[in-house]
Amino acid sequence: MASVTYKNVNKSFGDVHVIHDLNIEIADGEFLVFVGPSGCGKSTSLRMLAGLEEVTSGEIWIGERMVNNVAPKDRDVAMVFQSYALYPHMTVYDNMAFGLKLRRTPKNIIDERVREAARSLGIEQLLDRKPRQLSGGQRQRVAVGRAIVREPAVFLLDEPLSNLDAKLRVEARAFISSLHQRLETTFIYVTHDQVEAMTMGTRICVLNAGYLQQIDTPFNLYHNPRNVFVAGFIGSPSMNFFDAELKEQDGSLVVETKEFRFVIPENLAEPYKQHLGKKVVLGIRPEDIHDSQFLPSNITPAQIEATVDIIEQMGNEVILYLDANDTSFIARVDPRTRARVGADMPLVVNVDNLHLFDSETELSLAYEYKQELIARERGE
């Protein structure tokens, strides 16, 4: 068990600068998820921690030790790879025992640990098989088992679920979460899948193009994204964005796009007042746009109208692709909706959950204010 710290970490491959001044403190026992699109540097960050890539500048600490110049084998980390990277010529047992054998662990202890891990993973009956005789899900478990038996200070998982089918992935997600609770060790997990990130992480670190965008709990990331990138990346379908302007009308603050205009509720207006007259980006999540006939309670409604382009039935909800004044956006509405393709439809936006960003810096205009608000509401 150990904490992990990235201090001003930079990484370049030749002339290409892929990680810029990464600063992260990961507490002992935390489940931190690196998430971001392809090429954002999330795997590289993890591989630097494992010692598989050198750090160009900056420091990486595991516990009380700076590990920049420590070989991977001496870092006390275990890693699960996307391809699982099992040793094809060894049995499952030998795959799991390999790391312990190299550390000259006594045979009886190896046997005990491998069998216990295999039992907890439900792969006891596979110990004599070779990797090629296993299914994808079984291989994944063996790869996790190989990491567990080592009892490392930090677990590193590099997209371990991306080769599994959808059903297995859901199971494996829950399994890894329960593993984290049971082992109480630091887990660092890389994924491009925001659902995995949201469901598993105690904190999520969003990266884009080598820059840390935001590091926070899943709740805060969703409700208070720091910038346009995070707002668009977290949540599915993604947040709708509109070019808008902040204006004043009858003593109230309004945000006006070429399609809509919304009055910002008084209790939320405070942080925006200083930006009056500015061009902003308005973000509305699809789940904050409702069919006017099926409104949830406790919202501050604002009427809009749009034409329905496409309807996607999901069973528990309906995704509407809408059009207003040649601007497309998406709504996630009640499954009982009577929306018809081509028809104009009255909709309601919950203006409590509007997100406003500076159109130049793309930073949230109310980030600090909302952080405090959330902390207060959640009694933190």
Binding site: M79, Y84, A85, L102, K130, P131, G136
Partner: protein
């Protein structure tokens, strides 16, 4: 109209296809026979008495009595008609008995020493060098590889004289080590191993590094066992190449008959008799030379053909 066209053309097209496949098979059988004939005749003639070897047409079906005597009690050769018919012959062991009177065991032993030592060294050096070129980043990595590759483009004959001069200066001419060390690594093997190592996913090696392996442990316990198909191929090529190596051994050990290998010995068998080459002795020597290689190939061909599967990777 259209339907009748189809009904007419279908059987004829079928017949045409059949005819083509018959002709194709006939060709294949013909060439297979052409390839097999020299081997059959080599083995058959090695078991004949000399007059029967020179008898035409060549007989190739052994029939009893086996182990006939090739000479009459007075010591004269028995004429061909007595030991061979138009297609059949009575096998005799004269060729093998006579070849055994030569220094065959020494040549055989030398062949084994050269082939085993050179193969072992090549497998070791070629795989280590191939691995270094495939995975370790060092300045000049590509240059070294291209130089090694470049030596493959030079005809082997061109290297004979420089090699001779170097070995002479080192005082290694006419010694076992002269043969063994000068052939202990080869560009082809390095190339083969490098290409194979590059096909092994790096993630497996990284997993081993995180698991606690250093470079050497990883090489010997993870990478090398996964390279079995390439190692098998390299073993077969090296063993076969060395076993049949005539030119290098001739240049390096020259006139020292006690260091000859089988190909040099065979040439000796041929040379000694000049015009009156005793074919049954020579062919018996050829069979003895070929046999170990044939056995080796049949034992290893399963591994040679069967590739290791990397199903340990993706799901």
């Amino acid at each position: 109209m259209a339907s009748s066209d189809i009904s007419v053309s279908t059987p004829s097209r079928f017949a045409l296809r059949r005819a083509i496949s018959v002709v194709a098979f006939a060709f294949l059988v013909l060439f297979a026979l052409l390839e097999a004939v020299p081997f059959v005749l080599t083995v058959a003639n090695s078991f004949k008495c000399l007059p029967a070897v020179q008898d035409y047409p060549q007989s190739f079906i052994p029939v009893p009595p086996f182990g006939v005597e090739c000479r009459t009690e007075s010591g004269a050769s028995r004429p061909a008609e007595e030991t061979a018919g138009p297609l059949t012959f009575n096998p005799a062991l004269e060729g093998y008995e006579r070849v055994a009177e030569f220094n065959l065991p020494t040549w055989f032993r030398n062949s084994i020493i050269y082939a085993v030592a050179i193969t072992v060294l090549r497998v070791m050096f070629d795989s280590l060098a191939g691995y270094a070129l495939a995975r370790i980043k060092f300045p000049g990595n590509r240059l070294v590889f291209f130089i090694i590759l470049g030596t493959m483009m030079i005809p082997g004959v061109v290297l004979l004289i420089p090699r001779f001069i170097i070995l002479k200066q080192l005082g290694m001419l006419g010694t076992y080590q002269g043969v063994i060390f000068s052939l202990a690594a080869d560009a082809f093997g390095v190339f083969l191993m490098k290409q194979f190592f590059e096909s092994i996913p790096e993630e497996i090696e990284e997993a081993a590094m995180v698991d606690g392996a250093n470079r050497l442990t990883m090489f010997f316990r993870i990478v090398l066992p996964m390279a079995t198909p390439a190692l098998t191929a390299l073993t077969i090529f090296s063993f076969q190449g060395t076993w049949n190596n005539y030119m290098d051994v001739l240049i390096i050990v020259g006139g020292q008959a006690d260091l000859w290998n089988l190909p040099l010995g065979l040439a000796q068998l041929r040379g000694q008799f000049g015009q009156t080459l005793e074919w049954n002795i020579f062919l018996a020597g050829s069979v003895i030379t070929t046999l170990p290689l044939a056995i080796l190939f049949f034992v290893f061909q399963r591994y040679f053909v069967e590739g290791i599967s990397y199903t340990g990777l993706k799901g």
